[in-house]
């Protein structure tokens, strides 16, 4: 498994290289002149030229690309055009808050999602199922900006239990992580339900039941475990999305994370920051994918990691 992991990780390098090219092209193709946007609304043409020159934006595109790649290979992600700071510093500063918020949200989402999913599959077409699926559909369809603002209104303004935003102690995590986790919980619940229902139709479940195993043991020991494989894949993807910084939630709750940094950078056409964020997000997805694949083997030991698999 170690060998497999190392191989996979090495395999990511050419992929990241390709992504870096695409990221570079992508940001330079968006219309908008960063120098003008960053210089501000009442800047003079000289000030705009200054910025262009300072950040090499007056160079031909291929030159900019070579400079960018050259720096990248030395581990230098460049300098933000807006703040003038090294991009790496900015990303590191924002990564922690996004990661911790994501983990908290995923934890909520997994607990509630799995519970609701299992309950509704087992109690199919009875009221707990209807209630659970009602919640799940709501979770997916309620827009997070609405949910977030409602939570602030209820729990911060009316009840005064939690702060409206910012990062600090545990209490600052509750509202944003719940807002962010709600949608994911709903998706996990739906996946768990359908996957578990499929598994419950399988022969080995019938065998287990006819052997006289209790319903609890059948579901707990045999069914859920097998039903989890598609759920894990999906959760991995969701985790990746959350880790890319949930822009809306971070904005509403003034969370100093990557999502807010990304949206600010796009508005300002802060090329080096956008490029680096794309690279970082891609790397995160690749690593999570690897993690998901490794988890398969844990859930179903019949899955083996072999040469060439």
């Amino acid at each position: 498994m170690l060998k497999y992991s190392v191989k996979r990780i090495l395999g990511m390098i050419p992929l990241l290289f390709v992504i870096s090219i695409i990221a570079f092209m992508f940001v330079h193709l968006i219309p908008g002149d960063p120098a003008r946007l960053i210089a501000g609304t009442d800047a003079t043409i000289e000030e705009i030229e200054n910025i262009r020159e300072k950040y090499g934006l007056d160079q031909p595109l291929y030159q900019q690309y070579f400079d960018y790649m050259g720096n990248l290979f030395q581990g230098d992600l460049g300098q933000s055009i807006v703040t003038g700071r090294p991009v790496l510093d900015m990303l590191l500063e924002r990564f922690g808050p996004t990661l911790s918020l994501t983990l908290a949200s995923m934890a909520w989402a997994l607990i509630f999602g799995l519970l609701i999913g299992v309950i509704s599959a087992v109690k199919r077409n009875k009221w707990p199922d209807h209630l659970s699926m009602f919640l799940a559909v709501s979770g997916v369809s309620i827009p997070s900006f609405w949910l977030g603002l409602m939570m602030i209104q209820l729990f911060s303004v009316q009840l005064g239990w939690f702060p409206t935003g910012g990062i600090g102690g545990i209490e600052t995590y509750i509202l944003p992580s719940f807002t962010l986790g709600a949608g994911v919980a709903a998706i996990i619940a739906r996946f768990t339900r359908s996957s578990l229902m499929d598994v419950l139709k399988e022969d080995y479940i019938r065998t287990g039941r006819s052997k006289g195993l209790t319903e609890y043991k059948v579901i707990n020991r045999h069914a859920v475990r097998n039903a989890l494989i598609p759920v894990v894949t999906m959760s991995g993807l969701q985790f990746g999305f959350l880790l890319s910084g949930s822009i809306i939630t971070e904005t509403i709750f003034s969370w100093p994370g990557l999502g807010r940094l990304l949206i600010n950078s796009i508005t300002a056409r802060d090329y080096p920051v956008i490029q680096s964020e794309i690279l970082l997000f891609s790397l995160e997805f690749l690593l999570i994918n690897l993690l998901v694949d490794l988890l398969y083997g844990f859930l179903n030991p019949k899955i083996r990691y072999e040469e060439g698999s």
């Binding site: 219309p31 908008g32 002149d33 003008r36 946007l37 210089a39 609304t41 009442d42 003079t44 043409i45 000030e47 200054n50 910025i51 020159e53 300072k54 807006v82 703040t83 003038g84 700071r85 900015m90 500063e93 808050p97 911790s100 983990l103 908290a104 934890a107 909520w108 997994l110 607990i111 799995l114 519970l115 299992v118 603002l149 602030i152 911060s156 303004v157 009316q158 005064g160 939690f162 702060p163 409206t164 935003g165 910012g166 990062i167 600090g168 102690g169 545990i170 209490e171 995590y173 579901i219 707990n220 020991r221 859920v224 904005t251 509403i252 003034s254 100093p256 940094l261 600010n264 056409r269």
Partner: protein, 532 residues
Amino acid sequence: MKLSRLLTVLSLALVLVVAGCSNGGDSEEDTSSKNNEKATPPSSEEGLTIAVESNFTSLDPHDTNDNQSYSAQSAIYEGLLGFDEDLNIVPVLAKDYSANEDSTEFTFTLKEGIKFHDGAPFNAEAVKANIDRLSNPESQLRRASLFELVEKTEVLSEYEVKVTLKEPFGAMPNNFAHPAAAMISPKALEQSNQDLARNPAGTGPFEFVEWKSGDHLTVKKNEDYREEGVPKVDQIKFKPVPESGSRVAMLQTGEADFAFPVAPNQVETLKEEDGVSIETKPSLVVKYFSMNTMKEPFTNPKVRKALNYAIDKEAYIKVVYDGYASTTKSVIAPNTQHYEEQEVYEYDPEKAKELLAEAGYPDGFETTIWGGTSSLKQKMMSFYKQQLSEVGVTLNVVPMEGGTLGDKIWGVDNPEDAELELYNGGWSPSTADADWGMRPLFSSNSFPPDAYNTAYYKNEKVDELLQKGLSTADDEKRGEYYAEAQEIIWDEAPWVPLAVPDLLYGKQDYVNGLTMLPSGVMDLKQAEIVSE
């Protein structure tokens, strides 16, 4: 793994994550128990918390161009001159200043005995170091243009300094009063630009403490501040809160003592709140839409006037700003220096139709407006569409994201090639001076891409007047030149000027002395917490 075990593990993980995260956080504020009643005033040690709209970009004033950053900087830095609440120029670090007849030489006498936060003395050498930095094109600072005319800066004595310009520039004192012209400690200037942006040292009432990007920026009282009894709070914490609903919620819960800006449609929510009040103040911004005077049918002044008569500006203010704006009676806002009131084009659709018929468009015409995508801007443009349809003009509204819009307008080198017909814009002269309120918008040297004359307006007399206004330091004469220029522009109507929006901010009743300058920069010096 059993499901129950999995769940236990997950719950444990949750607890660990949350606990782990909370380690670094300082849970200083107890926000519970602050529900819908009046917020209790913080002690002066706790200080004030101010919710602002976006992240600060830099603490290097010379390299800053956003008001948000200027607000934080105004706590830390001071300039030779500054603006008072009504935007009059007042001496700050300078005791006095004088200019020669043709405004090419400015001599400053400095206040004595002032020290920067890092201990460096404030004197003529320090001033020279700052102006040299600002006027050196190689330093590539964002506000270098304010001092690009400086030829040399001389130290006359320890507390006297003379700045000589390459050519006459009557608005120079405004540039010295601009927040970007703040005096930085010469010791701090020795750092790289990048370090300086995060390690400021000025002479202001507050000293820098820490800045966590995206989360907060804190300043504390400068114990050695030269004025007795100032500052009145020990600490100020700025929190960037991008979502306007969240800023309002913070005022409601008492997490913020002051919030700027407040959206017009949220004023009602806050009005019902006990202990919170909303204040308004006219800004320096003029909202307008410009008409490309080089393009049919806007080459005809009658058409341009017709559009001016066709828009009900009172209704505009109600619809777009919920009433929190005032009609504009010139192309610059009343708080701008040398403002001269003009006779408003009153709402008169019949007259508009007549003018259109006279100009040869009895059945109206079709045209296109470009503007931004924010909901406010889209609302404005839909409003014009509705109003213009009443006089037979069909308006196509094309909202564009900022960068795209900029490319379309400023990507054009030749005025004849400009596709632009109408442009929904706004302008705020950061120096509060008529020159910067008009030259970038109406001088024929200011066609895009050089500046912001989106009307492609060209009038030789106006060009001459704007130039004359620059060439003298005599305020009275300047006033006359700018008054005449405003009159000509108003009469030729390259714009439909719409409104001067108010600055809207919310505060707890116990906050006193914290004011907003019309430019949108906060003045924190006198801020205090008063108990009833």
